[in-house]
């Protein structure tokens, strides 16, 4: 599938944004990961940052001219297969509801489902990590059942507890650290999501396949 045209744009003189037209799909994202892997081999490219449906290459303009880099991107793009990276399977144990998930009732109200049904469907989903951003180790995941989509809180919390599992619009995710945040919190995991001293500082990486496992449900 080489039909999706890639739009290129400079992000300052040392970064190149490569983006695909909406909507974001897993197939698009897989090709973006493939491009990221490939581009890291190129002279002058020292960092790659996948976004949702896009990729930014950070490069040294002394080592590679932006026009040359653009040509490299455009000639590599049609050759890339979608299977970019091998995602791992990661299980995240979650205590749903109660103090761990103070917004579970709100999500139930909004979706018209019972809290137990929200938990059942959330933990039945297969999720894919599209990218990490916002905070160290914060994974933007695709795969939330559409009926669970719930708008962000009108008043964001000043301090969301670390390891909270939330729903924000059509996405679900885990706050690795205490942070301000507007997502609806439905549970909390006991797993550390970010450890700067570890060889792999973040538990999740782009491409990982995630399941939430019900550890407990509180009311």
């Amino acid at each position: 599938m080489s039909d999706a045209p890639l739009r290129l744009h400079s992000l300052g003189e040392a970064a190149l944004l490569c983006e695909l037209p909406a909507p974001a799909t897993l197939a698009h994202q897989q090709r973006i990961w493939a491009l990221a892997t490939e581009a890291m081999q190129w002279r002058g490219v020292h960092e790659v940052l996948p976004g949702m449906n896009n990729l930014t290459l950070l490069f040294d303009p002394v080592q590679i001219d932006v026009v040359e880099l653009e040509m490299q991107v455009l000639s590599a793009w049609p050759q890339l297969a979608a299977a970019g990276i091998e995602g791992r399977r990661v299980e995240i144990p979650v205590t749903y509801g109660g103090e761990s998930g103070p917004d579970l009732a709100e999500v139930a109200r909004h979706t018209g489902l019972s809290p137990a049904e929200v938990v059942k469907r959330h933990s039945a989903g297969d999720y894919i990590v599209y990218l990490l951003g916002f905070l160290p180790g914060f994974a933007f995941m695709g795969g939330l059942a559409p009926e669970l989509a719930t708008p962000r809180r009108k008043e964001p919390r000043v301090a969301v507890p670390a390891r909270s599992v939330g729903i924000g619009g059509e996405q679900t995710g885990i706050y690795p650290l205490v942070s301000p945040g507007g997502w609806q919190l439905i549970g909390r995991t006991s797993l550390e999501m970010f450890d700067p001293a570890a060889a792999e500082p973040t538990r999740l990486r782009p491409g990982d396949q995630v399941r939430f496992v019900v550890e407990r449900m509180e009311t």
Binding site: A36, L131, G133
Partner: protein, 346 residues
């Protein structure tokens, strides 16, 4: 490499933290580059005390800071001096001076009615601040709470260790000397001029907004911090509001939230954002933004990639000249102190 107790923070001021040239290569994991917001100042201060460019120093916000040195060493500050003194004797920016154990560096508060009204000061100490290297850097990630000294801003009573200086005893105690600080290039009415490349979403803005970006005068509001400099001025509007998907932002990115008041992202900004990027401040001008005074005025000038690269070359030449000057004065030469590479200020 035995480290020794080198200094004690008597008063941190508004915000002081350990910073080096930043933590690079981990944006994919959501980890921001951080580091000294003015890498030019940090580099100059380091060279003046014989450190490698990447040695860690202290970034001090709006003065009001007191630090006691617990060992004989050598220090330099760069950026705004905030009326700095060592035991009452003036310390000028970009000077390299010996200090002896017990001497106190004092930066006055920001509330002084002089013409000098900068924002930040960078302190280098011979040997560099010795804190653990985490993910390739000694910088403090204030938001995520790791790196630097215990993952947080400095507090009263903090004791910091120093690395082993590259200078010998004679060099450490050599009489003070200085270099000319880089020129902030304020224009006639004291506005800070920043050169900006149009961003990926530039064309989405109305013509009036695009013109106002370049033609208008922007105020740097006090709601600014290491994550972002918030500007106030013309309300920037897009022709129609298209939803944006998460996409990379880098220091210098000018994003426009729904309020229409732009935010220029700084070193501690998140790695991805969802607001339109109307422009990106070129790398060579980020240091000016780090020093621009609160409530001061900014002007944005449109440049292209070639002009941005020429400006970066100019910065590299300036640093090379400083390096040569120091070498010919018998200071540690460029061979021991490689010219900063690309990784320092992206």
């Amino acid at each position: 490499m035995a480290a020794s107790h080198g200094l004690t923070v008597l008063r941190p001021g508004l915000q002081a933290s350990v910073q080096d040239l930043g933590r690079h290569g981990h944006r994919q994991l959501g980890i921001c580059p951080g580091g000294a917001l003015d890498t030019l100042a940090m580099t100059l201060a380091n060279r003046l005390v014989g450190n490698l460019d990447a040695a860690a120093g202290i970034e001090i916000t709006m003065g009001g800071c007191e630090i006691r040195f617990e060992a004989d060493t050598r220090i330099a500050i760069a950026g705004d001096d905030f009326g700095a003194t060592i035991d009452g004797v003036a310390l000028w920016p970009c000077w390299s001076v010996p200090v002896v154990a017990g001497q106190v560096l004092r930066l006055a508060g920001a509330n002084r009615s002089t013409h000098k009204d900068g924002l930040r000061t960078w302190l280098a100490v011979a040997g560099g601040i010795d804190v653990p290297v985490i993910l390739g850097s000694r910088s403090t990630d204030l938001k995520a709470g790791f790196g630097g000294h215990q993952g947080r801003a400095l507090k009263k009573g903090d004791k910091l260790m120093l690395g082993v200086p590259a200078l010998d005893a004679q060099q450490l105690s050599r009489r003070p000397f200085g270099v000319r600080p880089p020129d902030l290039g304020l224009d006639g009415d004291r506005a800070t001029l920043l050169r900006v490349m149009p961003g990926p979403e530039f064309e989405q803005f109305t013509i009036a907004s695009r013109e106002a970006l370049w033609g208008g005068s922007w105020r740097l509001t006090p709601q600014s911090n290491r994550m972002g400099s918030r500007l106030e001025g013309f309300e920037l509007k897009r022709r129609r509001a298209v939803d944006m998907l998460s996409s990379a932002v880098i220091p210098g990115t000018i994003q426009v939230p729904p309020s229409g008041q732009p935010i220029i992202l700084m070193g501690d900004a998140q790695t991805t954002g969802g607001y339109p990027r109307i422009g990106v401040v070129i790398r060579a001008d980020l240091w000016k933004l780090a020093q621009a005074p609160l409530n001061g005025r900014l002007r944005l000038q449109q440049v292209d990639s070639a002009q941005a690269l020429a400006a970066w070359d100019e910065r590299l030449r300036y640093l090379a000249h400083v390096g040569q000057g120091l070498a010919s004065a018998g200071w540690i030469g460029p061979a021991q102190n490689p010219v900063e590479g690309v990784r320092d200020a992206d």
